[in-house]
Structure formats: structure tokens, C-alpha cells
Symmetry: C2
Subunit: 383 residues, 2 copies
Amino acid sequence: VADKRYLFTPGPTPVPPQVLEAMSRPIIHHRSSDFREILQRTFDRLRDIYRTEGDVLVFTSSGTGGMESAISNLTRPGDRVVVVSAGHFGERWAAMAQKFGCEVDTIGYEWGETPSSDDLSARLSETGGAKVVFLTHSETSTGVVADVQGLAAVAKEAGALVVVDAVSSLGAVPLETDSWGLDAVVSGSQKALMTPPGLATVSVSSDAWAAVEKDAPGRYYFDWQETRERQEQFDPAFTPAVSIVVGLDVALGLLLEEGLEQAFERHTRLGRACRAGVRAMGLELFSPDDDRSAVVTAINAPDGIDSSELVQTLRDRQGIVLAPGQGPLKGKVFRIGHIGYYDVFDITTALAGVELVLAELGADIERGAAITAALEAFEHTRV
Amino acid sequence: VADKRYLFTPGPTPVPPQVLEAMSRPIIHHRSSDFREILQRTFDRLRDIYRTEGDVLVFTSSGTGGMESAISNLTRPGDRVVVVSAGHFGERWAAMAQKFGCEVDTIGYEWGETPSSDDLSARLSETGGAKVVFLTHSETSTGVVADVQGLAAVAKEAGALVVVDAVSSLGAVPLETDSWGLDAVVSGSQKALMTPPGLATVSVSSDAWAAVEKDAPGRYYFDWQETRERQEQFDPAFTPAVSIVVGLDVALGLLLEEGLEQAFERHTRLGRACRAGVRAMGLELFSPDDDRSAVVTAINAPDGIDSSELVQTLRDRQGIVLAPGQGPLKGKVFRIGHIGYYDVFDITTALAGVELVLAELGADIERGAAITAALEAFEHTRV
């Protein structure tokens, strides 16, 4: 049927029917006892998924709003910060920190490279450290998932606070907020957390709280302290996106019911299946072919094919929605997201659509091999 | 049945089933052509409802985020601004402007008073004007709807920009962005616009655009210029709350189908009905008894009754959710909202519940009179 859609982007991701159903119930008041119960459970579930005993703050905003909150609460103009950047979202950290007056030292990699702890360690010792190091866990623009544990260790060693963009990784690949010593971890509702966009979540460590200058000027909506005080009373500072919180509560319940370890394993196997299928078709991976990069797979478009046109054609002819390349990768790569409410048949559908449309566009690809390869990689490579 | 709920607060307000249904469909991508069509129509409908030919920017945040955007885009630290304040949300303007470093001159009224244009005019001429005057259209904490047209005229006369909090008024009572010369008008999805919370909308006049210092530091997520540029390409700067935009599109369609003038008349009559019923019960109005104040009715709790307890009892025993008093009115008043997806039988249900619970609590009230008075006021006082 003409309007059937398949959403295979790295966010927004498909929302489970149970979540959509909960969100379609009559709206409730954000200061009612009905909502209080939902809020309390949601905060508890977020702590479980973040693997933290500390606070997880919830803001009504996109993930970028959560990122801004980390900058405006942890830095003052003139502070020296380091940004490790290897793609679109690393560049966003740098741009935002500059906007808030930080002296930004960027360790810049080519898009698609994997940041190294040694580079970070060397830079921090050369320059005498930094107040905050900003990291990107899953660089959604390239498919690279960085070794945040290793990077955080050298940053902490140098006395810096560690802030992580885990918008597309939280719930998909392992992240240990407390045991890795992460001071603030930003995520969003619309990726592996299987909920529509509209909420940012931010964990805050005790070291981070100690660094927050109380009542400093220049922030209000994203003020951490006010948000925490009001969350502790289950009395939100500002009207939250009630229906999205209701959905998030249900989605986090589904994720915890599956089990975090099981979800991580599923994502690892989905990533393997996607990469095996892509290779079997004769296409070239842009994302690294490693098990950590289990969030989104970036693929080089075949010679003579513009990847943005491929994505548009897939959407128009087959109802399959993939993500095009961003920035310097525009026209060059296309991306298949495989996080959240996602199983192996989503991979095979995505691969089948890509195969069909590339063949129609006259690309030189292997027909009939991708799906079997993907299914085998999924079934026979348990973690 | 034990869990049937009646939501009669001034936000969130009841969401029409058509809106909930649209929001419960599978999520779509925010950079797809499906969403582009919805965005375009939503921006057009917002301009119709704002009565403006100018830009209406949409942010994923509560209304407070929209308010912050007006401050961070229109002022720089040290700017002199005037806040007209007569309740909770007037105080919020002042607190936010102070946080962003403005020199804030507050014209402060007792909660429940109606601001006067003469006072504003006198203050502006005494003090040599201001860069921005911040107004509250509907002061949700007291039920007062201010004469924004008159206040704006004197502010413009004095050369100030006029910024209006119309979060609970837009779509319920007349507001003319362009013909009243309003430079920025902030609203939210969850009041008379009949959509769940999560989106703030902000109109920006050409005078306001001229006052925005391009690329000024200290803002990123709420930057107006970036938001406008990306909206013009229907390519949102950050992932918007897709499902709430989908809902808002449908809700604005319903509002425009009813007709704005018809909606204003309905709200006027709902306000009259509510006040007539309250008086017939022998209760005392805290909100002014005038047709402009058609958003929410604040009512003094009878002697010996704590209004917060009344609200809690109504919720626990009858499933009816009203709003308690805020700030200095805590325990003293309770508030019945009557905006959005709301008809006269919502008024009679609210009044019936109040009558029942007040009688149970032993208050000296007139039984059996409120509902007839409300119905008569609604039917026989067409505007």
C-alpha cells in the first residue's frame, strides 16, 4: 500500500504500540497524584538505565537542549574546555561551548575516525588540563561509537569533568555512568529509548554538582539546581511534555523487562547483521566494522550514485526512511539506524529496499545475498 | 467508575480525540517529506491564529522556554526593561530578565489587580523609557486578562518593544499580534490550542528582528535567527517533538474550523457561565467579573476551608481536577480553567463537583442553584 512507512533512521526511531497507546490516553495534569506516580517510576527507571545512583534530570527539549544545560551549568565564560570531535555532533559541542564563551580546544578528527585516549591524554598534559572534556559516545553522523570508558579515564586522570553526548547510544550499547566516572551524560527520548522526541535526560554526578556555580546568571529554563529541587518534590519547575513522559515510562519499562544486557546483545547482533548484509551486497562500509558500533551503520553509496537521492528514492518508491549523509558526507553515505524497537526483520527490510532501489538505479551490486548474510550473522554470532 | 477523570485546569487542557488519534500514529521522521507538509501547514495555521504576517517560531519546550527566548534574543546584560506584574507569571518575567542580567523595573500590582495603561505610561515617562516592556495577557494565577492592546500602545508610544506572555490566552480571547503592534508573543501548545504540552510558539515582529543582535553569545537552543533560517527550509534546527507537532496541526485545524471569532465568543460565554454558577452557589469570585477574563476563574474558598484541600478532595473523591492557588493565594483560592476543548457541560460538571464536595466539607453554600444559573448565563447571553 502506498503509504506504509518503514522508519529506519537513528532517531526518531519506531515507537512500540504500547507506548503510542499510553500516549493516546486522555492527558493528565502535571501536578496531579496520577502524574506523580509516573514521574517517580520514570526517574527510577532512568537511574537503572543510566547505571547511576545519582540524579537524572529531565528537560522538555531535544537532546541539544540537554547538551546546552551541561555547558551553561558547568562552565562560565572564559573557562578552558576540550572537545573531542569526529563528526557532526562533536562539532555541535564545540559550537555550543563557543557560544557560551568557553575557550574551546578541539581535538578534531576526520569524520569517521575513532577518537583515541592517547591523543586526549597527550593534549591534556600539553595544555595543562581543562575544566571539562566533552565527548560523543555514538557519533550518529558516522556510525562510530567511541571508547568513552577509556577517554573518560584519561580526562578524569587530568582532573577534568567528563560530559558525554549519549543521545543515540543510551540503552543500545553499554554505558556505565557511575563506574566509568561520567559527570554528565545527556540522552534523548527518541533513540534507543523508543519514545517520540521531546525529552532530554541529563545525569549529574556529585563532582559535577560541586562545580555548578549556584544562581549564576545566563540560564533559567535549563537550570540544573532548580530542576533537581523541583524533581525531588515531583513538582516539575515548568509544565513538562506530559504525554511524552507517560510514553517514556512505558518504554523504559519495556527496555528493563527485556534486560539491559539483552538489549546490548541484540544491538550488537543487529549491527553485525547490517554490516554482513551490506558487505554481501558488495557495498563498502563507512562505519567501522566493529561490534561497538551497533547504533547506526553508515554505508558508502556506490560510484555514480548520490546518497541523498538514494534515500529520497527509497522513501518515495518503497516508503523506507533511511538517513542521508550530513556535512562533508552529504551525497556520499547513507545510514541505516538499528536502535530501539528494532529486530532483524527491520534489517532485512532495509537491506531489501536498498538492494531493490540500487538495482533500479543501475548500480553494480550482488543480488540475493544480503538478506541471507544478515540473517546468518544475526543468528550465528551470539555475543 | 473510580478512575474517570475530568481535567478542568488552565493547562494542560483536555485534548480532542482527533488530536490524540493523530499523535498515536507511527512516528515519522522530522526531515521527511511527510513531516514537511505538516510543518508548513502548522506554520500557516499559527500565523492565522496569531493574526500575523510575520514569523511564528516553534520551540520544543514549555512556554517558559519561549519566554526565555524572548529575553535572550532581545536583551543584553545591562539593558533596562520594564515588567508589568500582577501575579505568578508576571513575577516569572521579572525573575528571568534578572537572570539574564537586565536592569529590571517592575510595576508590581497585588495579585488579582488589573494592570493600568496609565501606570505604565507614567512609569515610562518618569524613567525615560525602556528597551522592552514585558506583559502578561492572561495571568493564569488570578484569572485577570489584561488590556494588552492598551498597554502595548503606551509602550510602543514610548519607543519600547512589547513582549507578551499569551501562553494561556492565545486562541481563547482576542489577541491581534500585528494590529496591536506586539513585537513578540509567546504561547504554548497545552492551553487553548488543545494539544499536549511540549511546544512553545513565539511570534517575532520586524522591529523585534531589528533589535536582535546577530550571533550574540549566551544562547544556542533558543536562538531565534537559526530557528527562523531552518524553519524557512522546513528543516528543523534540532529534532522537534514530532508527535506534538502532528497533534498541534490537527488541533489548530479544529480551532480554525470553528472560527477564531466563534471560539472567542464561546470562551466569553463559558466565563460568564462559570462566574454565574459560582455566584449562585454563594461563593465569592477572586477573578474580576468581566467578559475579558474568559480563560480561568479564580474563586475564594469559603471561610474555614483550605482551597488546596478542596482541590485534593475533588480529585480524590470525584476525579475532578481543578487548580489550587499559587504563591500568596495558596490555600485561599481555587481555579476552574475553561479554555480549549471545553463546553458548557464541563462548566456544569466542575460546578456540580465543587457544590458536592463543599457541602460534604460543611461549607455554607446554596445547593441546586449553580448549574441552572450557569446554563442560563451560557444560553441567554450571546455576545
